[in-house]
Amino acid sequence: MRLGHIARSLVILGATAGPASAAGDLVPELDFLTWPAAKYQHYYETSNYIAEGWRQLGVRVKLNPAPFPSPMLGMWFKEHKFDVVMSVLSGAPYRMEPDFFTNAQFYSGNSKPGDWNVGEFADKEVDALGQKQLGIYDARERREIILKLQAALHRAQPEAIIASVVSTTAINTKAVDIPGFEPAPDGLRSIWNLLKMTSKQDMAVRLGQTIDQASFNPLAANTAEDFINLSLIYDRLIELGTDGKPRNRLAKDLRVIDGTTIEVDVRNGHTFSDGKPVTVEDVKFSFDYFKKWEASYYKKYLGRLASVDIIDEDTVRFTLTQPYAPFVLHTLGQVFILPKHVWSTVVADTGIEKPQDYRNDGPVGSGPYSLKYWKEGQEIYFTRRADHFMKPASDLLYVVFGSAEVVGAALKKGAIDVSLQPLVPTVVKEFAKEPNIKLYRTKSNGYMAARYNVGRDALKDQALRQALAYAIPYEKIIKEIHGGDATRSASSIVPINAFWHNAKLELPKFNLDRARAILKDAGYTWDKNGLLRKPE
């Protein structure tokens, strides 16, 4: 009896609340997928500050921290289970290719589960420009389109770009020197800087990190760290330079004949670590091999490769199915050149099903280093090849640590010479006073953003997304959470990628009045509780 009474009065309350609010429905509470606070405090707090800013605008936000990597990665990349996700995309050399952070991420055709358009974003102008730049090999010409593409993304706001992380790593100057260090988005890990690392003690340069190699099989690898070390052992035709432009590696010259034909002259007189010469046969074999056995990481990059033909003993011709400008950096710059005399018989000789299962314990490559030994979970030792054209300075010894906290301490103590592990701000401050420690500030080409799921109802409206960009306390986030170790960008191609970055775009500032004005113009209203309501 009494229960029924209460229920009825609730119904009445609900009924009277309805007409009091003037316009449309409440903007739904945003489901903000983020990182677990305990382990990824920086990322979690960033999302927390963003949510705080949006709440001031009358938008309800619910943070949903999920354990990383599982299930968070699945919710992020496969299920798209979020209205907003705290997207942290790490920088990597191949991501300097301007297609990656623009078209690949925001092209409507890339919205399938597991592909890069995790926010199921679709915009006609973005799609058109994105597809157009793919067919232009000339860098200057392509750049014009890439700049326009960034402007279109800036207008459509598929995500709110927060900042690029600056990480600090360090070396012990008593033990090691890096003459001619090049600022690269991957800092000390860049192959160009590894090559220059010179031991002052006539021994291997000892580099500390927490990650161990998963595999030295180039066909099986799929983590960034695996690829870095593989690129020490195996050469590629092209290597991405620290400035974002391709540099010749095993290639002597590269000519674009037409949109679908590229010819590469291969460096002659070079040998594999077992003394056998590197030939155009090996080059053709490698591309065919990666394609034939469907090496998972490379599948995407070899999809447009129709054939590889040997023209003469110096030259190889690549024929594509359609013009694809990123081919140079993404394919020629990533596929490793394997010795044909080793890999062509691996499957038959060892009785394995496919070369991915090959252990490749003593890898034979033509790269600047060869693997001396690998003690799993402990050490990896690379011996330099004095006869290599990239001129490696010293042997490299990677030391694997169980936890990141002790890597900095090990550097200070002299147990290692280089800390590849980014140092936390308090350690950076402490190290700045140490006479024998040199700090390297590395600006990543990756970035943090609040990525919107446009496939869901809440953030479909462009005006709302535009307004949200002005309700984020950027400076506070950078100063209070990241200790100043972050830089802002208005574009997903961040300033360190200078050639491609569009510097003319307006950098949104925290300005609630402006945000409210945009919403008012678009017909949004606020109810008496200050909550945002959609246009009617």
Partner: protein, 323 residues
């Protein structure tokens, strides 16, 4: 006795089977797509499908389960998702490192715990007892990673007496050879994690011994021994301690599995390349075959330990009869 052993063995198998099943499904019941971490979401969708098929993750769960059981029956623990190498190889390479760290420190902890527990019980009410009991209870409630970090900070960094971690100085030994394990360098690296683990493991046997001793001291036969005019030391060590050792001896095998599981923390802090560190890495990567195999190992150790403890009871205490 024979039928008892047979029955217990049968129970052991049942327990292990339930554990295996639980572990298999529990890890897969975690929210989200369990393949998300195994297969990089950054991969091309078609490539992801190919990888799934390769690991058998595209087949229904029950089918995966039966394949797993079948392989297990022939001691095939599968291929690691992460390294694509046999799980058994990885465990084999790490097991010795853990055993060398855990067993000696456990042994020290139990010997010291038993002796000090006895003395403290005998000296009940003394300042020595108060101090030691206070220290042991605080130690026991201290997270071992914190203890380890503190030890590194003090002994490795401040005093520079020990290395910061690892099993040997990097660069000295190209493989895990016998030469490495018998080197002074290895012992130097072992010292700190060994002491920290021994200190941590010490609390349980110490407190257990003390409380058992306290009840033993009140027994009539101790009174009788005194009346016979036996020497105090004879009474303590010959009568009271011997009889109080029973619970300690029987908990020891059970603790073994727990100690191996506990190596997770100590190995992570000290970059000790053992089973514990392998487990941490495997769990964080959702490397199911590796996780299942390492957890199974701990389960087997614990179950086998309990079984041994049951048998020990009968051997040590003639009053216990198996029917």
């Amino acid at each position: 006795m024979k039928s008892f052993v047979a029955r217990r063995l049968w129970h052991m198998c049942l327990t292990l089977f339930v554990m295996i099943t639980l572990m298999f499904f529990l890890f897969r019941m975690l929210p989200g797509d369990p393949t998300a971490t195994v297969i990089s979401p950054a991969l091309y969708p078609k490539a992801q499908e190919a990888l799934k098929a390769q690991f058998g993750l595209d087949r229904p769960l029950w089918e995966q389960y039966f394949v797993y059981l079948k392989n297990l029956a022939s001691f095939d623990f599968g291929i690691s998702f992460h390294t694509r190498r046999p799980v058994a190889d990885a465990i084999e390479g790490r097991l010795l490192n853990t055993v060398l760290l855990i067993l000696p420190s456990m042994f020290l902890a139990y010997v010291a715990g038993a002796l000090l527990g006895t003395i403290v019980a005998w000296r009940r009410g003394s300042k020595f007892e108060t101090a030691l009991v206070f220290a042991a209870t605080s130690l026991q409630s201290t997270p071992v990673f914190w203890l380890g970090m503190l030890a590194i900070l003090l002994f490795s960094i401040r005093l520079d007496l020990f290395p910061i971690g690892h099993i040997v100085t990097p660069g000295l030994f190209p493989d895990n050879s016998l030469k490495m394990y018998v080197s002074a360098d290895f012992l130097h690296h072992l010292a700190l994690p060994f002491l920290v683990n021994a200190l941590y493991q010490f609390c349980f046997p110490f407190l257990l011994m003390r409380s058992t001793m306290l009840s033993t001291i009140g027994e009539d036969y101790i009174e009788l021994a005194r009346m016979k005019g036996l020497k105090e030391s004879r009474i303590i060590f010959g009568h009271a301690m011997r009889n109080s050792l029973l619970p300690l001896a029987t908990t020891m095998p059970m603790i073994l599995g727990w100690a191996v599981a506990g190596s997770v923390v100590i190995e992570t802090v000290f970059s000790w390349p053992g089973l514990g560190l392998l487990m941490v890495e495997a769990v964080s990567r959702s490397d199911y075959p590796m996780v299942q195999a390492t957890f199974l190992l701990i389960a087997v150790l614990t179950v086998a330990g309990t079984f041994i403890a049951d048998l020990l009871y009968g051997l040590l205490d003639p009053r216990i009869v198996y029917e």
